[in-house]
């Protein structure tokens, strides 16, 4: 049953991710952590980090979460679910460009939906802060990552790696 749920929920996430792959991250967290409880907040954060570091789109987080939730079949169900609808829509667009380009209701829906996605991202960040930023040292890591990612051109992957190393060192010193 969980396989069907994974496929169905990730299908929905793919269909509602207006604004690209990053727009799907809050939907993934809200659904798989807050609503369904498939994975812990830490596992979600690890999935996002791995999504940034590994090749392929950030949405590969779906594969990781599917695996943690229900093993190998879960990974396949979540991956198929999250990419199926967007891929078919892209193919339909390629095959019928004129018609889709003239359609104004889908972009209008997207324009309306994207602020809600930003709001959900706020909710995701807030619940991760509450569950995971549990010491002032970790707060410093979060603030430093934010500052370096916005002010410098350092790739997110390196910043995530630094965060992990700092956490590891803190663990040893404790």
């Amino acid at each position: 049953m969980i396989l069907l749920q994974l496929f169905g929920q990730f299908l929905l996430i793919g269909l509602l991710a207006f604004g690209g792959g990053q727009a799907a991250l809050p939907l993934i967290e809200r659904i798989s952590v807050a609503q369904m409880g498939w994975v812990s907040p830490t596992a979600f954060a690890a999935a996002v980090a791995f999504g940034y570091i590994t090749p392929g789109p950030v949405l590969m987080t779906a594969t990781f979460i599917g695996y943690i939730a229900a093993g190998f079949p879960g990974a396949i169900a979540a991956t198929l679910g999250v990419f199926l609808a967007p891929t078919l829509l892209a193919i339909a667009t390629a095959a019928g460009v004129e018609r889709f380009a003239q359609n104004r209701w889908l972009p209008a829906f997207g324009r309306g939906a994207s602020p809600a996605v930003v709001g959900l991202l706020g909710a995701t960040a807030w619940s991760l802060i509450q569950s995971s930023v549990t010491s002032w040292q970790l707060a410093v890591v979060a603030i430093l990552t934010f500052t370096l990612a916005s002010k410098t051109a350092i790739a997110p992957g390196w910043l995530l790696l630094c965060g992990a190393i700092v956490g590891w060192v803190m663990g040893i010193l404790k």
Binding site: T79, S114, F146
Partner: protein, 187 residues
């Protein structure tokens, strides 16, 4: 006629081979992958032009879902029709799926060991930093008027305080967007 025919009919094997290679190197988000696609499809092989890639980006950006994957599917269709698009998308994603599965296996066996769990705590804090930054970038791009700001705030509160289903929130906001467009049309 609803659909047009694909301009090329390359074999699925050639497409798979090409996109598997692109998938293996696809680090670093949309911009980096677009460069890779341009290099592989217009320079190394003269299958497509830069106009095709720009067109793919323009149209797929309007659609929900991962833009990177959609550009690949769009171009795959141009190269070999429906089966070409499926071959391109599958080949592009396959390396990433395998890497993610291996990481999943490692996570399951190691996450609770002391050293790794403190590393994960640091990693999570760094992810929080990146997500807060993404709120800023997505917000600047998508919230252009006070109405959008209001929608974002209502969604935030509804999700944190009342645990309202996120899909419902996004659909309602989307329908509100359609309604706004409809009123613009009437006036």
């Amino acid at each position: 006629m609803l659909f047009v025919a694909a301009p090329f009919q390359l074999s699925e094997i050639a497409i798979t081979n090409c996109f598997l290679r692109i998938g293996l190197q696809s680090f670093g988000g949309l911009g980096a992958v677009l460069t890779l696609l341009t290099r592989n499809l217009t320079e190394r092989r003269q299958w497509l032009t830069e106009t095709d890639i720009a067109e793919a980006l323009t149209y797929t950006k309007l659609l929900p879902g991962s833009t990177v994957v959609q550009v690949v599917a769009y171009l795959g269709w141009k190269l070999g029709g429906f089966s070409g698009a499926i071959a391109a998308t599958t080949a592009f994603l396959l390396p990433a799926v395998l890497v993610m599965l291996s990481l999943g296996v490692c996570y399951r066996t190691l996450a609770l060991t002391t050293g790794i769990s403190s590393a994960l705590a640091g990693l999570t804090a760094a992810v929080v930093g990146l997500l807060v930054l993404t709120i800023g970038t997505l917000g600047r791009k998508n919230i252009t008027h006070w109405g959008g700001m209001l929608v974002a705030l209502i969604t935030l509160v509804a999700s944190i305080q009342f645990n309202v289903n996120p899909a419902v929130l996004v659909v309602v906001a989307g329908l509100w967007g359609v309604l706004t467009e409809f009123q613009k049309e009437k006036s």
